[in-house]
């Protein structure tokens, strides 16, 4: 279910109205049901993956944190796992045809259960897991504490990375091996895999790892309330495209009564509106122009590449920050704060500043769970550069299993190393700014924006050949101003200046809640402008959120 769909609007309104009248337990149950419905709308089979991971991570967290899991919780986990395997994986829901107008349901009983043994393997494996779990539990509680903690840390991380690896990277590596076989003239058809990538898998995998590591490091208590933990795992606003919430930040909010303030609600509604405006009017608006250039098989000019890449820089920012804004806005309606994920990234003057402003939840995750454990910048110049390159390469790979993402990660790592070598010390990024300051730093901002855009070219390219062709054209075709790229629609042409002006004001006033300073009429004018342009943008061809596919 996408944030910009009618189905989501219905789910949100229904959940919100019910939420207002329920107690904490009721609210959490409601949010969990809504979260499962939100995910199942895309493909119900993958809900099992979420339940399975929830159970394993809950158990591992408890075993790391306190060394035991209560008997009721163990029974509950076994029951939930078995039920999930039956409901989400064994039952073939396509055999049930539901019609809303007129209301009717038809069940093809013959097709309700799997016809082959292969269709039963998930249930079989689950039964086996539930059967051996008590034995494994008895064995592990008897272990010495530090060994037990390490065992469950490794178990949880391996489980998470294995799932991520199988679904996200198996296709890529199998494809690469197959290409190698074909290059050698060998039959490669058997190597090709066609696994469906579960939506948001990269986001929820990193969220789960951070929980386990934080419990292991003693930064937080392990959760002993299964349903609260299940909600933390599946909480729908950040589920598909982040922010990658830390358990230290999100779990306490889920276990305590929330107070819904008027300011929080109004901020939430504004964030939803602003996020939709960015997604629908701008990101979806420029998508066709960008796709036309990056999808063409014919001749294009220097200006086509430059224009399409700058538009892509705006598209991916509008799309991704739009998702984050909507997610944060929706969460605020439930009184739950999510972390800030974007802070005016295109005003950055250096790569380190950029990574402090772009996809903050990922960059801070990489810093805390990869860069610093690798040694950070404390082990000399060479190791610092090595750590930066490794972190960014893995950051690139996190985005997707394709060579262009690895190339993009390498490019970002090289930029970080290069800027570090040249400047030694990063300038403070949150310094007070004025128009004079902004004009003074404009060349640095523009230069770095240009470098960022080249990174987006690597990111957006459809093949390595395209990267080479476009890079060559940028050099040899320099200054060719013929433009065949289709013009973006009016919603984008109007929306982009409004958005840029608003961000400039935010940057100059150093305020991410700028609108709160506006007098009521000015604020209302802003709302009306956003609504008008959003309505204009509704005619754009809708596209899936880019980052929900990662």
């Amino acid at each position: 279910m996408s944030f910009n769909s009618i189905e989501f609007a219905v789910l949100l309104v229904a959940t919100y109205l019910l939420y207002r009248v329920l107690s904490l337990r009721g609210q959490n149950t409601l949010l969990l049901v809504a979260s499962y419905a939100f995910y199942a709308w895309w493909d119900i089979r993958f809900l099992y993956l979420i339940v399975f991971s929830t159970v394993i991570d809950f158990a591992c967290g408890a075993m790391i944190g306190s060394g035991w899991v209560s008997k009721p919780n163990r029974r509950l986990m076994s029951a939930v796992l078995l039920l999930a395997a039956i409901a989400f994986n064994t039952v073939q829901w396509q055999a049930v045809q539901l019609s809303l107008s007129p209301l009717a349901m038809a069940i093809n009983w013959a097709a309700l259960l799997p016809a082959t043994w292969a269709g039963w393997w998930v249930l079989g494996a689950t039964v086996l897991l539930v059967a051996i779990a008590p034995l494994f539990y008895s064995y592990s509680v008897a272990l010495e504490a530090s060994r037990r903690r390490t065992l469950f840390l490794v178990l949880s991380i391996v489980k998470n990375l294995l799932i991520l690896g199988v679904f996200k990277y198996a296709n890529f590596f199998a494809g690469s091996v197959a290409d190698g076989f074909r290059w050698l003239g060998l039959d490669a058809d058997r190597i090709t895999l066609n696994l469906i990538l579960p939506l948001g898998i990269s986001f929820y995998t990193f969220k789960a790892i951070s929980y386990i590591v934080d419990v292991y490091r003693g930064r937080m208590q392990a959760s002993h309330h299964f349903w609260d933990f299940a909600l933390f795992w599946a909480y729908f606003p950040p589920l598909l495209a982040g922010p990658i919430e830390r358990a230290t930040h999100l779990l306490p909010q889920l276990t305590h009564r929330r107070h819904l303030s008027f300011q929080q609600t109004s901020e939430g509604i504004f964030l939803i509106l602003f996020g939709l405006f960015k997604k629908v009017a701008i990101a979806d608006g420029v998508a066709s122009s960008v796709n036309a250039v990056y999808g063409t098989t014919g001749a294009i000019s220097w200006l086509d590449i430059v224009a399409a890449t700058v538009l892509y820089a705006l598209q991916i920012y509008a799309d991704f920050s739009g998702y984050s804004d909507i997610g944060r806005g929706v969460s605020k309606l439930f009184g739950i704060e999510l972390m800030l994920n974007f802070n005016l990234p295109y005003f950055s003057k250096t790569p380190s500043e950029f990574w402090g402003r772009w996809h903050i939840s990922l960059s801070s995750w990489l810093r805390d769970y990869l860069y610093i454990p690798l040694g950070g910048s404390r082990q000399g110049v060479f190791k610092t550069y090595r750590n930066l390159m490794l972190t960014m390469l893995l950051g690139g790979l996190w985005h997707g299993a394709a060579w262009n993402f690895i190339l993009w990660g390498g490019y970002q790592g090289a930029l970080l190393c290069g800027y570090r070598a040249v400047s030694k010390i990063d300038p403070p990024s949150n310094e007070a700014v004025s128009i004079r300051n902004l004009l003074g730093s404009a060349p640095a901002i523009a230069l770095f924006f240009g470098l960022t855009c080249y990174g987006w070219l690597l990111f957006r390219a459809t093949s390595l050949e395209q990267v080479i062709t476009f890079t060559r054209l940028l050099i040899v075709d320099f200054g060719n101003l013929s433009l065949s790229m289709p013009k973006p629609p009016l919603s984008a042409l109007l929306g982009i200046p409004v958005w840029v002006a608003y961000e400039c004001l935010e940057y100059l006033t150093h305020s991410l809640k700028l609108k709160l300073w506006f007098p009521t009429p000015l604020r209302a004018a802003l709302y009306a402008t956003l609504i008008l342009i959003l309505i204009m943008g509704e005619s754009n061809a809708p596209a899936q959120f880019i980052y929900s596919q990662f």
Partner: protein, 390 residues
């Protein structure tokens, strides 16, 4: 690497932006802000209508892009009503385009100074190819039967109606990939929402392998004029039941047409509605089998009857933007097995190469020239020219 923690950013943002305590209650604030927002939206609505008025005269020259943009969302009836004058002479050109009336088609015979008459049934794409062919070989004469973005139903029906009414040696049937979505419709008024034409055509269905036509209740502009303001007319009822692109929210004229914002909403709705129709007939893999079976039957019948009449049939397959080579892939088996002469634009100018197209989606002139040359080659290989009469 120096990365901010989220808490630092949030707290900084908070500390620097906490607004002064509001003196109004939350409910008052909501109501006042909401009213102000509505006022501004109303103001925008009025301003758009005042700044970008659309001419009401059917014969007025085409207005500016922005004026057209804000009118796209007017109801279909509203747009059509503005195009139709009291008679045909005072009606817009678009209102008169595309009606299936063989009496108006010409020439029927080979004109003097020409050595080959070609009858072309299609749309603007085929019209441009005919123009390019005429430039390449001025001794050619064309009997052009076109309609804006004509679906195959229209071109095929025009061909059938035209049988026996002309002496052309070559008959060409143009099929446009982006118009396939109009096959389950009866009029260009329903599926060309933004700039609707009025012409009608039959919808075809296959029954036991035979094409069955569902004839529209309206066949001319005069008949259309009569039913336009009558929501209870048989034609509107027929559209409701047999035209898959019909939607009463998009079609019927009412007072909401006066609001620019409602027009924008209606345009967005229309986009989704037509996209849904298109997506039900065309996916990333290709066209749906149902419509392709009907189209293949049309193509077979076209070629067979043309040969029966002693004419040389050619199918022009226009693979336009967004449809890759799906149309020719779907037709190729039938064209191959029945040895029907054809020219596919995909082989000459692939749809994935945007430099082959101008902004409005048509081919650029050099591409039209290349397609025209390909068609001429096919004709010259099989059709002898007549002696030019002076």
């Amino acid at each position: 690497m120096r990365l901010h923690s989220s808490s630092t950013l949030s707290s900084k943002a908070k500390s620097s932006t906490t607004p002064s305590k509001p003196s109004r209650s939350p409910l008052q604030t909501v109501i006042i802000t909401g009213l102000w927002t509505l006022c501004f939206l109303g103001l925008f609505d009025v301003a758009i209508n005042r700044i970008f008025p659309y001419p009401t005269d059917p014969l007025a020259p085409r207005p500016s892009q922005l004026k057209t943009y804000f009118e796209y969302g007017r109801s279909i009836e509203g747009k059509l009503a503005r195009m139709i004058g009291t008679d045909d002479r005072s009606s817009a050109v678009l209102a008169k385009a595309g009606w299936l009336d063989p009496q108006t088609w010409s020439p029927a015979t080979l004109p003097p100074n020409k050595n080959l008459l070609i009858a072309v049934y299609g749309m603007s794409f085929s019209e441009q190819i005919a123009e390019a062919m005429e430039k390449l070989d001025p001794r050619l004469a064309f009997r052009r039967i076109n309609a804006p973005s004509a679906p195959p139903n229209h071109s095929y029906t025009a061909y059938k109606l035209d049988r026996g009414r002309h002496s052309a040696d070559v008959v060409m049937l143009g099929i446009l990939a982006s118009s396939i979505k109009a096959m389950p419709t009866l009029s260009a008024a329903t599926w060309q929402f933004e700039v609707p034409s009025m012409y009608t055509y039959p919808r075809y269905e296959l029954e036991n392998g035979t094409l069955q036509a569902i004839e529209p209740k309206v066949h001319s502009l005069a008949e259309f004029r009569n039913v336009l303001h009558d929501p209870q007319s048989e034609f509107v009822k027929q559209l409701e039941s047999r035209d898959r692109a019909y939607s009463s929210f998009l079609f019927q004229r009412n007072w909401l047409d006066q609001s620019a914002i409602v027009r924008l909403v209606r345009r967005a709705w229309a986009q989704r509605h037509i996209d849904n129709l298109d997506n039900s007939l065309h996916t990333a893999e290709g066209f749906a089998d149902t419509e392709m079976s009907i189209l293949q039957a049309m193509v077979s019948d076209f070629a067979a009857t043309a040969r029966q009449d002693g004419k040389f049939p050619i199918v022009l397959v226009f693979n336009d933007k967004g449809y890759e080579d799906h149309l020719i892939q779907a037709l190729l088996p039938r064209l191959g097995t029945e040895a029907i002469p054809y020219v596919s634009t995909h082989a000459i100018a692939p749809a994935s190469n945007l430099s082959n197209f101008v902004g409005d989606g048509h081919f650029i002139p050099p591409v039209n020239d290349r397609i025209a040359k390909a068609v001429l080659t096919v004709i010259n290989q099989s059709v002898p020219r007549k002696k030019i009469s002076k």
